[in-house]
Amino acid sequence: MRLFFILSLLLLTSFAFGQKNCNVFLYQGDTLQYEACKTARQSGRYYQFSREYQMTHDRALEIYPNYADSYTSKSTAYLKSGDFITWKQLMNKAVSLSPEEHLGYRGWCRYQFFRDYEGAIADIERLDELIDYDIGHSVNSDYHLNIAKAICYKALGQSEKAIQIIETQMRQSDHFVGEYDYFHLGILYLEKGDYQKSIKLLDQQNDHNELADAHYYQAKAYQELGQVELAKQKVAQAKTLYSAGRKAFDGYTHIDDEIDLRDIEEYESALP
């Protein structure tokens, strides 16, 4: 318990720097890893795509070849440039050295950047088996990894399982509601044909994080219930919010279930 407290304190103090506190290793008596960590921290001066950033982590790995964080750090530019081959090689190394710390990140990225649903599920479930504490969130913090896993199951045609996973996760007392939790769940119920429940969940989404996308799907639910006027109102709201930039958005890739303006306009023109 004392060790946990001290480690937590060391880690919390490093939030301001946005990087791991190397004193964790010093406290553990691991001087090589401490030196590697200190060297790796210098990469913060450089853009993560840059030669200098990569070389700084190479120097850290020369000091301590098993410094897993540097493999993950090096991998990120490859990920963001779409180089799935180099990215995966680097992440495999990080995961082999420290699966508890890096499986969640690899799993999330397999989903977010490559829609590798089976691979993402495998990583997240393996992490779940390895540890006895919460598996955590996506690197952008928008999703608990169980929610991400559920979306992967939905993509593989297992919508009932996706609903069950999301609802179980959201019932956890310590669940921190993500940016799109109610949104995805509401759409799952819409597709299942439970329109009232879908509308209610999308209302909760809009209370938490109002999205043009959520209003758009509510319009569809109202139309299914024969309430065309309400559907039209919802479409109008979706359009207004869309114009104001209140929509599902990720700077790197698209978000599952997100809509574009053309989706709204096509749907609007098809309404009776």
């Binding site: 840059s50 530019a77 006895d132 504490y133």
Partner: protein, 182 residues
């Protein structure tokens, strides 16, 4: 479920710290002296190749200034948004002509400040992320489609026009396009 009884994750602190660091995109700063030439300026840089690139394609800045498509925080920008981009690609891609192969194929290229494109480069991987070449019935089709796309929006950063790298990743299953990213 296994996660029902779980307590807060101490390693999550570590994970979040790493995540904050990884998710942060800062501008390039001063370069350091080195004899290492393993890397180009930036990961994924595409140098002009007279054998395959259009000599008339002009950058509005220069090679040392080409950004990434997400550096302006606007993400992928195409006339008519992702909806139009994806529909344009799918309308042109003929699955019947494609060999039944699977994996990922990435096409990376430069978009200049006028929305024109060139310097197309292709990589492929199988379902295990191992490098592979796809049959030309897939590669040539997608490359030709990518080269024909003319809706890329010019981008600016701090009011300055930029050239930027864009990529398209195609997830392919038995020759069918199942996902188009980013």
């Amino acid at each position: 479920m296994h996660f029902l009884t779980k307590r807060p994750n101490p390693l999550h602190f570590l994970y979040l710290l790493l995540g904050i660091s990884l998710a942060t995109c800062t501008r390039p700063q001063q370069t350091i002296e080195s004899t290492e030439n393993t890397y180009l300026r930036w990961v994924g840089d595409i140098e002009f190749d007279a054998a395959m690139d259009n000599p008339d394609f002009e950058l509005c800045t220069d090679d040392s200034q080409i950004k990434q498509y997400f550096n302006d925080s606007q993400g992928l920008e195409y006339e008519g948004e992702k909806y139009t981009l994806e529909r344009t690609i799918r309308d042109q891609y003929d699955t019947q002509k494609a060999k039944k192969e699977s994996g990922w194929l990435r096409i990376r290229f430069v978009v200049n400040c006028k929305g024109k494109t060139d310097r197309f480069r292709v990589i492929g991987a199988d379902e295990n992320y191992e490098a592979r070449d796809f049959h030309k019935s897939i590669t040539d089709q997608l490359l030709n489609i990518a080269k024909s796309l003319d809706g890329w929006l010019p981008k600016t950063i701090d009011g300055q026009q930029i050239d930027y790298y864009q990529y398209l990743v195609f997830k392919i299953e038995d020759g069918q396009l199942t996902e188009i990213l980013p």
